[in-house]
């Protein structure tokens, strides 16, 4: 199984750092780790519009799961359901069952804010707060009650180290977060997200607004972070999916010609190697071969 993957790696434009090529994502064992998310027949509505229909999928601990598919196929909508960010859209509803470590995410007494402290999110376009780099990273811990300066200093340094940004900014923690380049700003947002010690990190096309070198840095980061966090990443870049993810879910836009409605469905979900080399569904095959060509 390693050989075809090596070919894939050879096709990518950027050479991977030597250290990473060895630690290249091992082939995911058939027996995955703990079940983090259990999604059963979930549909998401925005008012009357059904964005996503009938998704069933398990997400496992310490893996990177990629959501791929063309635009409008509901991948971002699905992603945002995991941390209840859809709650912010008026008229959004989630049907079906989504549970996180056994607790229903949309249960009656569940607090969305508490969910988001466990399940963090990095956005497509870096959105650092107009505060200093230090205050950006310390924001999350502060609102969770951490006040002691020494404690905050530690958290800030650790998070920036984990996000591979510490060396570049350690001497200017007081400067504005807005002064960073795109790639640095995105790593700042990642540092900010992991500063609250989440369990899961959701990433919505985290590198699509970045140049290739910054993209490479973010992908390296994802592979490192996977050791401690569970990551779900939406990406429209299939090479990226093959480079970093353990499992891949392929979403597709289903059009009902009679009623002229569209909705997103999960077509196929499995280990990344299998999805890209041996897709079972013809639509998956069409998508992955069309791009890989």
């Amino acid at each position: 199984m390693d050989q075809p993957q090596h070919d894939i790696a050879a096709k990518t434009e950027l050479p991977k750092p030597a250290a990473l090529q060895d630690a290249r994502r091992q082939d995911v064992s058939a027996a995955p780790g703990e079940l983090i998310f259990d999604v059963q027949d979930v549909s998401v509505y925005y008012g009357a519009f059904k964005a996503v229909t009938g998704v069933t999928m398990p997400i496992y601990e310490n893996e990177i799961t990629a959501f791929i598919g063309s635009s409008g196929s509901g991948k971002s909508t699905m992603l945002r359901s995991f941390n209840r960010m859809n709650d912010l859209v008026p008229g959004a509803r989630v049907h079906g069952s989504m549970s996180y470590r056994g607790t229903a995410l949309y249960g009656k007494d569940v607090s969305a804010a508490a969910v988001r402290r466990r399940i963090g999110m990095v956005f497509q376009k870096p959105n650092p707060f107009p505060k200093s780099i230090y205050d950006n990273v310390a924001y999350g811990p502060r609102i969770n009650g951490t006040r002691k300066k020494s404690h905050l200093d530690d958290i800030v340094e650790n998070s920036l180290r984990k996000a591979a940004l510490w060396e570049e900014v350690k001497n200017r923690l007081g400067t504005s977060g807005l002064s960073l380049s795109g790639g640095q700003a995105q790593r700042l947002c990642i540092a900010r997200t992991i500063a609250v010690e989440p369990d899961v990190v959701l990433m919505d096309e985290p590198a699509s607004a970045l140049d290739p070198i910054a993209t490479g840095a973010v992908e390296d980061l994802m592979l490192e972070l996977k050791e401690q966090y569970t990551i779900i990443v939406v990406t429209h870049n299939m090479q990226q999916a093959t480079r970093v993810s353990d499992r891949t879910a392929f979403f597709y836009v289903l059009t009902d010609s009679k009623s002229d409605t569209r909705t997103g469905v999960l077509v196929e979900y499995g280990r990344t190697g299998q999805i890209f080399q041996d897709p079972q569904d013809p639509r998956t095959q069409a998508y992955v071969t069309g791009r890989m060509g």
Binding site: E34, Y100, S111, R118, N158, E224
Partner: protein, 327 residues
């Protein structure tokens, strides 16, 4: 790769998914109620104004009944008919609009169609400076500088047109520096910034595509303005004119100083006169009993008029803005 150490949190696998349960904090909900309360304050204040002032004016309303609109205003005889002041408010406002509207629209068109972008901002600053001058300073200048100077002009015009049918009754004697006309001019100066800036906003929303279409047909700038800008921005400009009207009706201090303080209904614009806010400002201090109630009643009428004008104006401006966005 950097060495990474995890801080004192428990490792993820072992943490149960408890702690997700809990309702929105008390602080969060109280903040929402607080914000809502402050928003409602606007409505509360408006209602309170209407209720309390009407109550204070009720003795005037009930005593005079329909005669609140009579022309006799005689505090000594306890007779308070308000027509003279309503007339004065209308006359000064009309004079102000007649002078200010062409000027304001002209400036607005100048800024949007003629002047290159770089010069637009300084010109806007300068026009906004008109708004910085407080009402009382306009009044001070008006009565001490402008009125004596205007007095001469009025006198010459007055004697010149004396006897001529229509002009004579408008501009003939008696003439006075402090008069309806002076108040109208000063009001025009004061409402120009607001009518200009609102008209400008409205005119700026006309799509460039439409302008270019007219130019592409060989139209001159004036033809383009007449054919494209005007039909599009009509509604909004009318709205801004109405807002200027509201402002002109309610402006108090400058008018109180220069209008001449004479409660008469006359067609002679150069004669001294009076209007609603001016009489309140000048006489409320010493008024008691029915007199005070009458002045309060004038305030109620003024409040009602300006609210109506503003609601209509904002409604028109809002509707034309929505139409422009294609809603």
């Amino acid at each position: 790769m950097s060495a990474v150490t995890r801080t004192d949190q428990a490792a993820p696998g072992s943490a149960p998914a408890g702690g997700l349960v809990g309702r929105r904090g008390l602080a969060d909900r109280s903040f929402q109620w607080l914000a809502l309360g402050c928003g409602l304050l606007v409505l509360v204040i408006l209602v309170l104004i209407a209720v309390t002032t009407t109550q204070k004016a009720s003795s005037w309303f009930s005593t005079e009944g329909i005669k609140i609109f009579s022309t006799t205003w005689d505090p000594a005889a306890n007779k308070f008919g308000a027509l003279a002041f309503i007339y004065g408010t209308a006359v000064t406002a009309v004079i102000a609009l007649v002078i200010s509207v062409p000027v304001s629209i002209g400036i607005a068109l100048l800024l949007t169609e003629v002047v290159p972008y770089r010069w637009a901002r300084p010109i806007v600053y300068v026009v906004d400076l008109l708004a910085v001058v407080p009402s009382v300073v306009w009044g001070l200048w008006g009565i001490l500088v402008f009125a004596p100077w205007a007095q001469h002009i009025y006198a010459s015009i007055g004697s010149g047109v004396n006897g001529i049918p229509v002009l004579g009754s408008l501009f003939g004697p008696p003439t006075s520096g402090a008069s309806f006309f002076t108040a109208g001019i000063i009001l025009a100066f004061m409402i120009t910034p607001i009518v200009t800036s609102l008209s400008r906003e409205v005119i700026a929303t006309v799509p460039s595509i439409d302008r270019e279409g007219a130019y592409a047909l060989g139209a001159t700038r004036w033809e383009m303005i007449r054919g494209v800008v005007w039909p599009h921005s009509q509604g909004g400009v009318v709205g801004s004119v109405l807002l200027g009207l509201g402002r002109a009706m309610g402006e108090t201090i400058a008018v109180a100083l220069v209008i001449g303080s004479s409660a008469t209904i006359t067609s002679h614009l150069f004669a001294p006169g009076y209007n609603m806010p001016a009489v309140i400002a000048n006489q409320f201090g010493e008024a008691t009993g029915l007199f005070q109630s009458a002045l309060m009643g004038l305030g109620v009428l003024l409040f009602a008029f300006t609210i109506i004008v503003n609601v209509i104006a904002r409604g028109i401006v809002g509707r034309s803005a929505r139409r422009m966005r294609g809603a």
